[in-house]
C-alpha cells in the first residue's frame, strides 16, 4: 500500500503539465504561478511533498481539488461520492454471485446436456461483451424499449433504498454480467472436479441423498476456488464501475475520476487511484481471512 502510494505520487509528478497552469489558465504570469505553487506547497522538494501528502492520506485529508470543483476538500468530495460507488459495487456483486451460483450449479449437475451447453455458452458470451456496450443494450431494451428502468441518473440509497435499488439496477447488471460469467465458469469447473472425486462416491454408496452429498461434499469443497476468483474479480468490478457510472450518470468515485481526468485535476485523480487501491487490498485481505476460515489447512 505504501509503495503503491509512492508510485501513484511520482507518476503523477512526472506527468506533463503543471497544476498551476490548469487553474490559472493561459493568462498565468510567472509571478502568479510562483504564488500558486507557494500557497499549495508545490515549491517544496518532491520528497517533502510526498510525505506531506502521505501524512494527509492517513488523516483522510487528500488536499483540495484543483479544477473539478475548485478549492473543495477532496475528502469531502470522496465522502459524498464513495457510498454510491460502494452501493453499486455491492449490488453488482450480489447479482453476479446469485446468477453464477444458479447457472454454475445447473451446468455442473447437468454436465454435457443442453442446460450445460446453454449456461456455458451464456458464460462465454458474457465474458466477451464490453460492459459499457452491454449497458447501452440494457438501456435500449429495458429503458427506451420497455420503460422499466431509468436510463440516466441514480437516486442515492440515503434518500430511498427502493429508489436506489430500482435506479441502480441497470448499471449494476451491466457490471455484473461479465463477472457472473467468470464466476459461473469457475464454479462449474470446481464442482465437476469434485463430483468425480472418491469421497463423493463413498457418500453416495453410504446411501446419502443426492442433495446431501452435493451440499456437504461437493459444494463445500468447490466454494474456496470460487471465493478466490470472486476476490480477484474485485479489480475488474472497480474498473467496470468507472465507465458504467459515467454512462448511467451515477456520480460516484468512478465518474469523479473520469471528470478529474478531463479537467486535469491531478490531485483528485491521485486520490481516486489511492481509494481504489485501498479497496482492492482490503478485499484481498478479507478473501484471505474467509478462505482461512473455510479451510483450516490454509490458516497456517
Amino acid at each position: 500500500m505504501l509503495v503503491g502510494t509512492l508510485v501513484v505520487f511520482f507518476v503523477m509528478k512526472a506527468a506533463p503539465g503543471d497544476p498551476a497552469l490548469v487553474v490559472l489558465g493561459d493568462f498565468a504570469t510567472p509571478e502568479t504561478i510562483a504564488k500558486f505553487n507557494a500557497d499549495r506547497g508545490l515549491d517544496a522538494p518532491w520528497l517533502m511533498q510526498y510525505l506531506d501528502w502521505l501524512g494527509g492520506i492517513l488523516r483522510f485529508d487528500f488536499g483540495t481539488s484543483l479544477s473539478v470543483s475548485a478549492d473543495q476538500d477532496i475528502s469531502a468530495l470522496l465522502a459524498f461520492r464513495l457510498p454510491k460507488t460502494l452501493f453499486i459495487g455491492l449490488y453488482a456483486m450480489t447479482i453476479a454471485i446469485t446468477l453464477s451460483l444458479i447457472l454454475g450449479t445447473l451446468a455442473a449437475v447437468n454436465r454435457g446436456n443442453a442446460i450445460d451447453t446453454g449456461a456455458t455458452s451464456l458464460a462465454v458470451l458474457g465474458v466477451s461483451m464490453p460492459d459499457f456496450w452491454f449497458g447501452y443494450m440494457l438501456i435500449l431494451g429495458l429503458s427506451i424499449g420497455l420503460g422499466l428502468f431509468p436510463s440516466y441518473g441514480f437516486i442515492p440509497p440515503s434518500q430511498s433504498i427502493l429508489g436506489a435499488l430500482h435506479s441502480g439496477f441497470l448499471p449494476a447488471l451491466a457490471i455484473a454480467a461479465p463477472m457472473a460469467a467468470v464466476f459461473t465458469r469457475t464454479l462449474r469447473t470446481a464442482l465437476i472436479e469434485n463430483l468425480d472425486r472418491e469421497h463423493v462416491m463413498v457418500s453416495k454408496s453410504l446411501g446419502h441423498s443426492g442433495r446431501f452429498t452435493f451440499f456437504h461434499h461437493v459444494f463445500r469443497n468447490s466454494i474456496i476456488p470460487y471465493i478466490v476468483v470472486v476476490g480477484l474479480q474485485i479489480r475488474y468490478l472497480l474498473g467496470g464501475v468507472v465507465i458504467i457510472e459515467r454512462i448511467f450518470g451515477v456520480n460516484g468515485v468512478g465518474s469523479l475520476m473520469v471528470e478529474a481526468a478531463f479537467a486535469r485535476d491531478y490531485f483528485v485523480v491521485q486520490a481516486c487511484a489511492v481509494v481504489f487501491l485501498a479497496i482492492v487490498l482490503g478485499v484481498n485481505y478479507l478473501v484471505d481471512l474467509i478462505c482461512a476460515m473455510l479451510d483450516p489447512r490454509r490458516a497456517r
Binding site: 465474458v127 466477451s128 447501452y136 435500449l140 481516486c272
Partner: protein, 277 residues
C-alpha cells in the same frame, strides 16, 4: 500442439476460424468497400441499416461498416502491440526471476504485485492522465496492464521446470543462462503463455475501446472501435444502430478470441478436456 487435435477441439476450431475470417475481413474489407471510411455524404445522414449500408450511416453520412472494419484494424493493432510489448518484457522478467530466484525474484514479484493491485481499467485511466491521450499511450497502458500477468505466469511455470532433467543437462553442458532460458525453458512453458496472450489481446481491445469510449483514449478522427462507439453514443436514441452494430462486432471478435483461448487451454491441459467430454 498437433493440428489434428486443434481441428478436433470444437472451441479452438470455431475460435481460430472466426478470428482468421475476421482478420481477413478487416484487411480486405476497406479495400473493396464502395465507401471511404472518412467520406462524408450529407444526403444519407443517420440512415438505418440497409443493403447498401449494412450497419447504417452515422451523423456525417459515413458508412458505419467501413468505419468498423477500419476501426477494428486500428484497435487490434493497438491491443496486439501492447500485448506483444508486455509479453517481451514480462516473459524476460519472469524467466530470470523464476530461474535465478533470490533477491531478483523478490524485487520483480513485489513490482508485479504492486501493478496487479490496481484495477486494470483504473491503472489504464491513470496512465492516460499521466502520459496524455493518443494511440501510442493507449498501447503503453495496455502493456502495463498485462506486463504483471505475463511476468507472473512465466515466473511460476519457470520455477516448476527449472529442476527438470533437460535444464540440468543444459547446465552441465555449460550453456549460458540466457540460452538456457530462451532456448530450453521458454519453448517448454509456451502453452500457458499463448493461452494468456489470446485472452489478453481480446481484453486489450476492451481496454482500448473503453478508454476511447469515454474520450480518454484514441482521439477522433482516428476511427478506433471505441471512438466509433463514443460517436454512436451521442445520438444513441435517434440512431441506436451505430453503437449497437459496432459493439456487436466487438463482441463477436472477443468471442472468437476467447473460444480460441479456451480451446488452446484445453489442448494444453488434456486433463480438463477428457473430463468434460
Amino acid at each position: 500442439m498437433k493440428l489434428n487435435a486443434l481441428i478436433q477441439n470444437r472451441a479452438a476450431l470455431a475460435g481460430s476460424t472466426i478470428t482468421a475470417l475476421f482478420i481477413i475481413i478487416i484487411i480486405v474489407g476497406p479495400m473493396i468497400s464502395p465507401w471511404g471510411s472518412g467520406a462524408f455524404d450529407f444526403t444519407a445522414v443517420l440512415k438505418p441499416p440497409s443493403w447498401s449500408h449494412p450497419f447504417g450511416t452515422d451523423s456525417l453520412g459515413r458508412d458505419v461498416l467501413t468505419r468498423v472494419m477500419e476501426g477494428a484494424r486500428i484497435s487490434l493493432m493497438i491491443s496486439a502491440s501492447g500485448v506483444l510489448a508486455a509479453m517481451c518484457l514480462g516473459i524476460t522478467a519472469g524467466l530470470f526471476a523464476g530461474y535465478l530466484g533470490g533477491w531478483l525474484d523478490a524485487i520483480v514479484m513485489r513490482m508485479v504485485d504492486l501493478l496487479f493491485a490496481f484495477p486494470a481499467f483504473v491503472l489504464a485511466l491513470f496512465l492516460m492522465v499521466a502520459l496524455g491521450f493518443g494511440v501510442t499511450n493507449v498501447a503503453l497502458a495496455i502493456m502495463l496492464v498485462y506486463l504483471p500477468i505475463f511476468a507472473r505466469i512465466t515466473r511460476n511455470t519457470t520455477e516448476v521446470v527449472r529442476g527438470d532433467a533437460y535444464v540440468q543437462a543444459a547446465q552441465v553442458m555449460g550453456q549460458s543462462t540466457p540460452r538456457i532460458l530462451f532456448r530450453e525453458i521458454l519453448p517448454n512453458i509456451s502453452a500457458p503463455i499463448l493461452v494468456q496472450a489470446s485472452i489478453a489481446v481480446a481484453f486489450g481491445i476492451v481496454i482500448e475501446s473503453g478508454l476511447s469510449f469515454i474520450g480518454l483514449g484514441v482521439q477522433p478522427p482516428t476511427p478506433s472501435l471505441g471512438v466509433i462507439m463514443a460517436d454512436g453514443q451521442e445520438y444513441f436514441r435517434r440512431a441506436p444502430w451505430v453503437l449497437t452494430m459496432t459493439g456487436l462486432t466487438v463482441t463477436i471478435a472477443l468471442l472468437a478470441l476467447n473460444l480460441l483461448g479456451d480451446g488452446l487451454r484445453d489442448l494444453a491441459d488434456p486433463r480438463l478436456k477428457r473430463r468434460d467430454a
